[in-house]
Amino acid sequence: MTRFDLRTLAFLAAPALAVSLSPVAADELWVTNEKDDTISVIDIETMEVTRTIDTGERPRGITFSKDYSVVYICASDSDTVQVMDPATGKILHDLPSGEDPEQFVLHPDDRHLYIANEDDAITTVVDTQTRSVVAQIDVGIEPEGMAVSPDGKIVITTSETTNMAHWIDTEKQELFANTLVDSRPRHAEFVKDGTELWVSAEIGGTITVFDVATQAEKAKIEFEVQGVHPDRVQPVGFEMTNDDTHAFVALGPSNHVAVVNAQTYEVEDYILVGRRVWHMDFNADRSLVFTTNGVSGDVTVIDVARREAIKSIKVGRFPWGAAFRPTP
């Protein structure tokens, strides 16, 4: 089905839906399609795409404001962060982002975006209220992964070619530490109330766990998928389950998601998903996780308790980012 068809259908169906179905609007999962310049909106109840929304060029990172009133989208090739009204899909305005914004993180103050500028080796800090650049911080080559500590004091940028996690003091907007990880770090998350930092390394094939207080390496998580050469097991995006007991880790071209015990750092399961799995997000109670599969152009729905893929949903070309939106 083409994009045009979907939108036409949505348009035709809208008046009827407004009358009969509006009370049962459902939670949604928003997916950016890097090679279609669109967002696919998945209804979590029906697990179907209900809307396809145009964006700027090459949308990748996506995140909602704390109250879900706006959604921020990294339109990498348009060199901007777009601010969209999620109810209407209309672009409200653009934010200055620096060149080639790939991924970003919203500070707990709900106001400052920390943006990785992949082509410029810079992290740009943008005030979403004044719509101005507050700071630019030199980091390593090809910054990508972004994370913020729960107290907002530390922001992390990982650089893919420099192979480091750069630790930014958000009060001074400057680096206070740089720690090496394995080759091509892609994604970072603070876990366990911000006491640990996890960084995935795509080519290194590992996740490095740091103790945040000392920035010292605490553990290294390794992956081994039966029948897949280690070179192709490439951890990229990951997310934590309730209470940070387990991590679901996308393993790129191995087409699997690993389930990691966050206490023992052991991998407990591997789940087959679509091709070149990138990123993911959960539903409201974290009973389901939705993974974006870049090459197969679909989203795999995983039942978290059963650790099984239960459905795949066709979205646009090269789905990349994923973000949950509760029922308005």
């Binding site: 080559i141 192979n163 630790w167 740089n178 080759s183 010292a216 390496e217 290294k220």
Partner: protein, 395 residues
């Protein structure tokens, strides 16, 4: 498994040093020389693809910048010296002078020049990188323990092409070979690879025309290819692309062409976009204002490999770096979807080989289904038992 354990040991060493928040490493300064011994370019019929003046050198400069950025956070500094020697000028004094400055040389030079540098007394214990020659002999009998190769060998490229032809079941091949010595070498690699993969080379012809094919390919090429035996794929060995570009669509039988035109196995090409490659192209464009060639990629990979070894070992001496480069712990993120590493038996950088047309990536070898006990990357080029290189064992 050993590889992972080794990697962890190095990480632990590094961690010990980074414990204070800001990295306080022992300062390491690494100086590299990019040395070109220019060959007089062969005259070709078409001017469509000029060889950039800074071919190779721009790749070295980009890698230097990449290394410097990482080094900035670790107290490690890098320098690049560029030395260009004209075809008729004496190479060895320049090489000696460079080796007196630094044991790290990236060579853009013909095989004979590379060997004469590698055999200098001053080069023993140095690390030289061959970033230009695909000569398979340099990875075999003529190998040198101080000479690593970031340019893929002709054998690797030929194997990539044969894997593809085999997979397509294009098992009957014909070959047109140019008159230059490089063409003979590339044909030889294609023949050897065809035999390795059980393909059948049905016929060969030498291209000896001196007419201007820009005007009469449509008259000459059908006649020239008419008496080739029945084949599925027509191979063209014309390294300088003097005539290869005029063959496609002018053949007697409608057959795809491959080798020096059509489907080409290459170290690198602008059409390689996946695996973050678009970012490397983009950084290269910003620096050089042109596309990144295989020579640029090989020079980039050499200096990045050195930088990666410095980063991981926090050392600048050739013995430590050489041991690390050839160890299982070394891996380079080379924008080809897999970690790159050096074959310890002949110093060749293992790497996937893109199979490209001028407009798109067609496939990337090793292709699925070609298996190897160690790594599928070793289905390309000289494997340990067949390499005949013994100088690395003696080290």
């Amino acid at each position: 498994m050993f590889r992972r354990i080794a990697a962890r040991c190095f990480a632990a060493v590094i961690m010990g040093v980074t414990l204070p928040p800001v990295a306080v490493w022992a300062d390491v300064a690494v100086s590299v020389t990019w040395l070109r011994h220019a060959e007089a370019p062969r005259p070709v019929l078409s001017n469509l693809d000029p060889i950039p003046q800074d071919r190779g050198r721009a790749g070295a400069e980009l890698a230097l910048r990449d290394n410097q950025t990482t080094g900035r956070f670790l107290g490690q500094t890098y320098e690049l010296t560029v030395v260009e020697v004209a075809p008729d000028d004496d190479l060895l004094p320049a090489a000696r002078a460079a080796l007196a400055q630094s044991p790290y040389l990236v060579l853009d030079a013909p095989t004979a020049s590379q060997l004469s540098i590698a055999d200098l007394a001053e080069a023993q214990g140095a690390i030289l990188f061959n970033a230009s020659s695909g000569d398979t002999a340099l990875r075999a009998d003529s190998c040198r323990a101080n000479l690593l190769h970031t340019m893929p060998s002709d054998a690797m490229k030929a194997d990539a092409l044969m894997q593809f032809a085999r997979k397509k079941r294009w098992e009957n091949l014909a070959l047109i070979e140019g008159a230059a010595p490089q063409d003979a070498a590339w044909s030889q690699a294609l023949r050897a690879s065809a035999a390795k993969f059980g393909m059948s080379l049905k016929g060969e012809k030498q291209w000896l025309f001196d007419a201007d094919m820009r005007r009469n390919a449509a008259q000459e090429v059908p006649l020239f290819t008419q008496d080739l035996p029945k084949h599925d794929l027509l191979l063209i060995s014309d390294v300088a692309n003097d005539f290869a570009r005029y063959i496609a669509y002018n053949t007697w039988e409608p057959r795809p062409v491959a080798g020096s035109e059509g489907l080409m196995p290459v170290a690198w090409a602008p059409v390689v976009e996946q695996w973050g490659a678009a970012q490397l192209h983009s950084r290269f464009h910003d620096l050089a204002g042109r596309d990144m060639t295989p020579h640029d990629y090989a020079a980039w990979a050499a200096i990045r490999a050195l930088g990666e070894a410095v980063t991981r070992t926090n050392a600048g001496d050739a013995d430590t770096l050489r041991a690390f480069l050839l160890s299982d712990a070394f891996e380079l993120a080379g924008f080809k979807g897999r970690p790159l590493s050096f074959r310890p038996w002949n110093g060749q950088l293992r790497q996937p080989i893109p199979l490209v047309t001028r407009a798109a990536l067609v496939a990337q070898a090793p292709l699925e289904g070609y298996l190897h006990a160690r790594t599928e990357l070793d289905t390309l080029g000289l494997d340990q038992p067949e390499s005949g290189c013994t100088r690395f064992e003696q080290e």
